[in-house]
Every structure is written in structure tokens, then in C-alpha cells.
């Protein structure tokens, strides 16, 4: 007789769409954000194809502007922000602390529905004709001048924002109130710490975005003047409000990724993360300091010189905890027992790309250099290194790591390693030339450009095609593995987290008995011999 798991506990659409099981909701998110990833990816493909030639023959400039806007909106609000917390976090955070579910399962389902409704608004805007304001919605262009579907898109982001807020709220309460006996704060896996820090940002930052969108909405519909210079409003105030959320939002995207990497590096070196407490606190430090630096997006925006100095100064502070993490991960490898399984390859890729992304962040935080490189491809390359090279590498690494637990199936290892390699190479070829482009002065969001930039653009496009193949590969073999993959044991990697103490796939209520935690975190002596 088949064992009862969360997957076979109910069949039919209703058992999924009305589920309150965090694991099933995690899979619903996985499905939704994958869809948006490929929608955003399709826009990216068109952008890169367009940029192969300087004179811009493939699409009109109007279309091009819509493409990069919708690429940004789809990727940031509907893929990256929910990516790791809402899929892997939703699925594993309760399991890792030994809980049966999140504190508020119905709110959890509600937040998935909010993401879907927000996504539908955004999709509607895309299909109805698109939006051309850039994902940043700078006023007064977005409020007065743009003739595209600004309101539908903004509403979509507004609704999706509440999805993010409710997920964060759920995580915070869950971590505080639902830990299993013996699961003290300093026995929490670093993935939980990272998601907890992320949840704080979601809860504190997202409402400010929400009210900003409300004001943009009122401005566009009723002309209330808050951001309109004609009535004495200040467009730069919008930028302050927007970046108060959107800079910390970068950490919403990358902190959970750092959490995944901590798990991977530890598991595949069979050593506790070097400086566990420091790494845990650095997540919290990033969450706090991340709120103090948004003005570095405004160095040339007519912000005051004094404010520029303050924000630049503080920006360097947030670099330190990130650097500490990288050093600690590297130190974890020292004298470890290092396996080259696919998730670890992704983790190596993450550390490398994040290092480059982070260090180029020091360039843009420097006032003198930022004046030259801001709003150029240098910035484009910088944040793609963090968000694509960082977050997506970690997301894929985590997805491979936990795939056996989620589905009960192993993926084909050889294909998976190949895809990790292809993605790493394709990524660097796509985005490294963009650093040079930006330094040479190529402005971002340009549909046509001077011919001297063409060589680097062609390199970037070539890299993007490799990257696209790299992203399609996991899509294919992971789906393939659902049916043909080898059945997965409970703990295929010899990992220490509580999620590995239960069967793969987990039973409906995660654990047959509420687990009691007796070991310190990342104690590999307790699992020696497990794994394949």
C-alpha cells in the first residue's frame, strides 16, 4: 500500500486551489513564478535580439520601451520577490523549525491568490498594450505623460505587494511561535534566519511602496499634484518613497538566496557554517542597514549634496555584512569534505557572481564614480549580477537541493551539472560585457545606440542565447524526473536539517511525531553515513 504523502492526500483541482498545506501552496507558487520567469525571459530575449544592431530595426522604440518595462515588472515583482521565500521558504521554513504548518495557513493561501490576482492585472496590462514607464515608474512621466497601461500595472504591483507583506507576516509569527521543542534561536538553520530577516524587510518596506502606488494612482486619475511640479509637488519625493522600498527590495531578493547558499555550502562540505552566529547576525544587519541607503539611487537626481554624502557613507556599511558572508562561506570549505553535486556547483557559481556583483556595488556607491556610471549599462550589469547571478543561481541551487524532498524523485545528475555550467558561462558572457559598455558610456533603456557599442552588445546577446538554453534545461529534466527520476531516499545528501528527518515526499503534516531537537545546528556527526 502506498504511503500517504502530502501529494496523494487529495486529488483534483479543489484539493490544490483550496489547500492550506504550506507545501502545496509552495508548489502553487513554484508554478506561478516559473510562468512569470518565462514571460520575463521572453521579453529579455526580444530585448537582446533588438540590441544586436545599433539602429534598432526589429521593434519600434515604443515597443522596446514596453519590453524592458514589462521585463522588469515581471521579473522583479512576480518572479524574484516571491521566488525563494514564497516557494522554498513556504515549503521548508515550517519543516526546518519542526512545525506542522505556518502560523496562518489561510492567510498563506490568500497571499498566493493575491499574487495571482496581481499577476493577472499585470498580464492584462501586457496583453492590452503594455506599459512603458520603466519598472521604476518615475514621475511625472508615469503620472502625466505616458499613454500606456500604467494603472493596471500599478494595481497589479499593489496587490502583489500585499501578497509579499502577508508572507512576511506569516514567516515572522511562525518563526517566533511555532518552533519545535529544543529548536532555540541559535539552532535555527541559516536559511530560516535569512528568511526571517527578509520577512522583516517585506513587512516594513512594502507598505511604503503600496502608499506610493496609491499616490501615483491618485495623481494619474485625479491630478492631485503630489508629484507634479506644476502644482508645487516634487517628482524627487516620489523617488525617495519608491527607493525606500525598492532598495531594501534588493535584499528581499538576495537575503533568502544567501540563506540557501549557507545550507548548500555547509551540507556539501559536511561542516557547520564557519561563524554561524556572525552569518546569522549579518542577515539581520543587512535587513536593518538596507533601509538606510536608498538615497544612493538619487546621487544625480538633484538630491542635496549633503544627503548624497550621508547615503554614500551608509552604503558602504551594508557592504560589510555581505562581505563577511562570502568570507565565512569560503572558510567553511577549508578542510571540509567537498562534494561537487549540482547544488554545490550552483553555490560556487553564486559566490563567484555575487562577489563580482557586490564589489561593483562599491563602484556605484562611490559618489564620484556613480555620477559617471549611473543610468548606464554598468548599473544594469551590476544588478543583474546580484539578482540573476545571485538570486537565480541560489534559487536553482536550492530547487535542486530540495527537489528530492519536494517530489520524492532524484533529478538526472549529469544533465543538472551541465546546466549549472552552461548557466554560469552564459551568464558571464551576457553581463560582463555590459560592465564595459556602461563604463564606456552606453546609457540604459536605449533602443538605438551609437555603432561603436555594437561589438559588446553582440557578445552580450550571444551570451544570452547560451543562458536561455541553460535555463530551459532544468525546466525539461526536472519535469522529466517527476516521472522517470529515481525515487529519493529521506536524506539523499546527508544533510542535517529537520526537513531531512522525514520521508521524501513528506507526509501531510510534515512529521509523524513532533520532532524534538537535541543536536546543535549543522551537527554532521549525527547523520554520518546517510546520503548517497
Amino acid at each position: 500500500m502506498e504511503r500517504e504523502t502530502y501529494l496523494n492526500a487529495g486529488y483534483g483541482l479543489k484539493s490544490w486551489l483550496l489547500t492550506r498545506d504550506h507545501k502545496r501552496i509552495g508548489l502553487l507558487y513554484l508554478f506561478t513564478i516559473t510562468l512569470f520567469f518565462f514571460i520575463g525571459g521572453a521579453f529579455a530575449t526580444l530585448i537582446r535580439m533588438e540590441l544586436m544592431t545599433p539602429q534598432g530595426g526589429l521593434v519600434s522604440s515604443e515597443t522596446y520601451n514596453k519590453l524592458f518595462t514589462m521585463h522588469g515588472v515581471a521579473m522583479i515583482f512576480f518572479f524574484l520577490i516571491p521566488s525563494i521565500p514564497a516557494t522554498l521558504g513556504n515549503f521548508f521554513l515550517p519543516m526546518m523549525i519542526g512545525a506542522r504548518d505556518l502560523a496562518f495557513p489561510r492567510i498563506n493561501l490568500l497571499s498566493w491568490y493575491l499574487l495571482v490576482v496581481g499577476g493577472l492585472f499585470a498580464l492584462f496590462a501586457m496583453l492590452a498594450g503594455g506599459v512603458d514607464t520603466g519598472w521604476t515608474f518615475y514621475t511625472p512621466y508615469s503620472t502625466t505623460y505616458s499613454n500606456s497601461w500604467v494603472i493596471a500595472t500599478a494595481l497589479g504591483i499593489f496587490v502583489a505587494g500585499f501578497s509579499s507583506i502577508l508572507t512576511g507576516l506569516n514567516f515572522i509569527v511562525t518563526v517566533h511561535r511555532m518552533r519545535a521543542p529544543g529548536m532555540t534561536w541559535f539552532r535555527l538553520p541559516l536559511f530560516v534566519w535569512a528568511n526571517y530577516a527578509t520577512a522583516l524587510i517585506q513587512v516594513l518596506g512594502t507598505p511604503v511602496l503600496a502608499v506610493t502606488i496609491v499616490l501615483v494612482f491618485c495623481e494619474r486619475v485625479f491630478h492631485i499634484g503630489i508629484f507634479d511640479p506644476a502644482l508645487g509637488g516634487d517628482p524627487v519625493l516620489f523617488q525617495h518613497l519608491f527607493w525606500f522600498y525598492s532598495h531594501p527590495a534588493v535584499y528581499i531578493m538576495v537575503l533568502p538566496a544567501m540563506g540557501v547558499i549557507s545550507e548548500l555550502v555547509s551540507t556539501f562540505s559536511r561542516k557547520p557554517v564557519f561563524g554561524y552566529k556572525i552569518v546569522a547576525f549579518s542577515s539581520m544587519a543587512i535587513a536593518v542597514l538596507g533601509f538606510l541607503v536608498w538615497g544612493h539611487h538619487l546621487f544625480v537626481s538633484t538630491q542635496s549634496v549633503y544627503a548624497g554624502l550621508v547615503f554614500s557613507f551608509l552604503s558602504y556599511f551594508v557592504a560589510i555584512p555581505s562581505a563577511i558572508k562570502v568570507f565565512n562561506w569560503t572558510a567553511t570549505l577549508y578542510k571540509g569534505s567537498i562534494s561537487f553535486a549540482t547544488p554545490m556547483l550552483y553555490a560556487f557559481g553564486f559566490i563567484g557572481l555575487f562577489t563580482i556583483g557586490g564589489l561593483t556595488g562599491l563602484f556605484v556607491a562611490s559618489l564620484g564614480i556613480d555620477v559617471h556610471v549611473t543610468d548606464t549599462y554598468f548599473v544594469v550589469a551590476h544588478f543583474h549580477y546580484i539578482m540573476v547571478g545571485g538570486t537565480i543561481m541560489a534559487y536553482l541551487g536550492g530547487l535542486h537541493f530540495w527537489w528530492p524532498k519536494m517530489t520524492g524523485r532524484m533529478y538526472p545528475e549529469l544533465w543538472a551539472r551541465l546546466s549549472a555550467l552552461v548557466i554560469f558561462l552564459g551568464f558571464n558572457l551576457t553581463f560582463f560585457p555590459q560592465f564595459i559598455l556602461g563604463y564606456l558610456g552606453m546609457p540604459r533603456r536605449y533602443h538605438v545606440y551609437p555603432p561603436e557599442f555594437q561589438v559588446l552588445h553582440v557578445m552580450s546577446t550571444a551570451g544570452a542565447s547560451i543562458l536561455a538554453v541553460g535555463y530551459l534545461m532544468p525546466m525539461v529534466y526536472l519535469i522529466w524526473s517527476l516521472r522517470y527520476g529515481k525515487p529519493a531516499p529521506a536524506n539523499p545528501w546527508g544533510a542535517t536539517g529537520l526537513e531531512w528527518k522525514t520521508a521524501s515526499p513528506p507526509p501531510l503534516h510534515n512529521f509523524d511525531e513532533t520532532p524534538v531537537v537535541e543536536h546543535e545546528v549543522y551537527d554532521y556527526s549525527a547523520v554520518v553515513g546517510e546520503g548517497i
Binding site: 554614500s312 557613507f313 563577511i324 565565512n328 569534505s337 564589489l359 562611490s366 558610456g441 556527526s525
Partner: protein, 295 residues
């Protein structure tokens, strides 16, 4: 820049090398091996916190120094006025010469731009001069540069401004002083910016009240530019471009002490270009130079 590149390269290569070395040196040799758990070392943590922090502070100080230097234009800088609109740059020299999407300037002289926008936010970006400044509707922003080599350089709009954002480009022509003088003389004779402003001043009947000999109902404008003005509220302001602009658009916002709030608003009657001409005219009437942060 070089320092940053060096630091970045050093850390990137260092981390890459460490990862590669550790990954190969300590690769898993048996399925059941259990390495000794190391939980951390405080000394090491402090070292790799303090050293990067010190390095970043050097970066901060150095970047800030450049930024501060760039935020004060030299006093003898040439004045150029810029009005941005979707999707073109309109530039005017103090001598009155107008240009569209082109700017001719002499080599070796600092040039100060006073910029505003008629519609959305734009950004004046000349990669070769390492300069970029957003141009925001409703206010003046300024930047300056000093070209050191004659040639032809790209001008870009760097802040996304709508459909033809990527077409909002132009050229900066940096000329030898002699060529520049010739260029300035050539073409249709043009009135200087201040003359344009003087004409506008008359057309708008400003002179009816603002009489030069200070006998009008309103303060004389001679010598006002750059001076410190006492207001009815007891506060003082520096009569810079922004104050003059505000006084034309919203005369009653800041009234000079001793005068009645008699002036009507000229909002909607003066274009952004006209505004710059008026400001330049008032500047030409004398007064302390307020240029470049002489506040």
C-alpha cells in the same frame, strides 16, 4: 577608479582562488568521511570585517572628494542654459547663440550649465566628461565641466523620458579658442541672452514697477543678483536663479521687506526659455556672482 578596480579584482581573484583551491584540495574522498567541525574564529571575523571596512572608507572619502569638487563650478565659468523637452536639448549661450542638440564650447574653459525641463525628468550625460545631472521640471539643476581636449563628444539623455528617449542625443563640439571665437561670430547675428531678456522685460511691462532708479512700486533689480535679500518675514534669502524664478512665478511667496505684495504671477506667461532670458537679464544688471555655490 584604478584603486577600486584593483581592490575589486584582488578580492574577486582571491575568493575565486580560495574556492578553487579548497574545493579541489578538500574534495570528498569517501562517502562517509566526517571533517572536523570548526565553528568559527573571532579574530578572523574581526580581521575580515575591519580591513574591508577600512578600504571602503577610503573609497567613500575619495569618491566624496570628487563629488564635492564637482559640485562647485569655478567663478569664471562660461554660462550655458539648457532646456530639455521630449525629445530634444535646447541650449543657449549667454551671448544669445542658440543650439539644438549641439553644444560648441572652447577647450580649456570651465562651462557651467543651468538646466531645467519642460516636461519629464531628463539627464544631461556626457560620458567623455564623466558628468551626469538629472534635469527636473520645476527646478534648476546645474553641473559643470572643463574640456581638456578638442573633439566631438557624445551627449546622451540618461534618464528614461519616453518613446524617443534613445533619440534624445547630441554632440558636444570642443573647439580651439580661435575656432570657437569664429564660430561664435558666424551664422545669423543674434542678440545676447540678456538682450532677449531685456526685451521680454519690456514686453511684460516689468519695467513699469521695477524702475532702475528705485522710484517704482517695486524694488529696483540692479545689483540684486547674488545679493542677500531681506524678506517681510524677517528671513533672508540669496537672490539666486531659483529665487528669481520663484519670484516671477509666485511673487507672493517671498516678499522683499518694505514692499507691498503687488506683483501678479507670470505663471503661464513665460516659457522656460524666456525665464532663463529674464534671469540672465537680471544677472546682467550687476550684483555679486552667485555662480557655482558662492552661497
Amino acid at each position: 577608479m584604478l584603486f577600486l578596480v584593483a581592490v575589486a579584482t584582488f578580492f574577486t581573484l582571491g575568493i575565486f582562488a580560495a574556492i578553487f583551491y579548497f574545493a579541489i584540495r578538500y574534495r570528498r574522498r569517501s562517502a562517509t568521511e566526517l571533517p572536523v567541525a570548526q565553528h568559527g574564529a573571532m579574530v578572523l571575523e574581526i580581521v575580515w570585517t575591519v580591513i574591508p571596512f577600512a578600504l571602503t572608507m577610503v573609497m567613500f572619502g575619495w569618491g566624496a572628494e570628487i563629488f564635492l569638487r564637482e559640485s562647485h563650478a569655478p567663478k569664471d565659468a562660461l554660462q550655458v542654459f539648457v532646456v530639455a523637452k521630449q525629445w530634444m536639448w535646447k541650449l543657449q549661450h549667454t551671448e544669445g547663440k542658440r543650439e539644438i542638440n549641439e553644444l560648441h564650447i572652447p577647450v580649456g574653459r570651465a562651462v557651467r550649465l543651468t538646466m531645467t525641463s519642460e516636461d519629464v525628468i531628463h539627464s544631461f550625460f556626457v560620458p567623455a566628461f564623466r558628468t551626469k545631472q538629472d534635469v527636473v521640471p520645476g527646478k534648476y539643476s546645474t553641473t559643470w565641466f572643463k574640456p581638456t581636449k578638442a573633439g566631438k563628444y557624445h551627449l546622451f539623455c540618461a534618464e528614461y523620458c519616453g518613446t524617443r528617449h534613445s533619440g534624445m542625443t547630441g554632440w558636444i563640439y570642443v573647439m580651439e579658442p580661435q575656432d570657437y571665437a569664429n564660430w561664435m561670430r558666424g551664422g545669423a547675428p543674434s542678440e545676447s541672452l540678456a538682450d532677449d531678456g531685456a526685451r521680454l522685460f519690456k514686453e511684460l511691462a516689468c519695467a513699469n514697477c521695477h524702475k532702475a532708479d528705485n522710484t517704482g512700486r517695486c524694488p529696483s533689480l540692479a545689483g540684486v543678483y547674488g545679493s542677500t535679500v531681506k524678506l517681510t518675514t524677517g528671513e533672508t534669502v540669496t537672490a539666486d536663479e531659483a529665487y528669481i524664478r520663484e519670484s516671477i512665478l509666485q511673487p507672493n511667496a517671498k516678499i522683499v521687506a518694505g514692499y507691498p505684495p503687488a506683483m501678479p504671477t507670470f505663471q503661464g506667461l513665460v516659457t522656460e526659455e524666456g525665464m532663463l532670458q529674464l534671469v540672465e537679464y537680471i544677472r546682467s544688471l550687476g550684483g555679486k556672482p552667485a555662480a557655482g555655490g558662492a552661497h
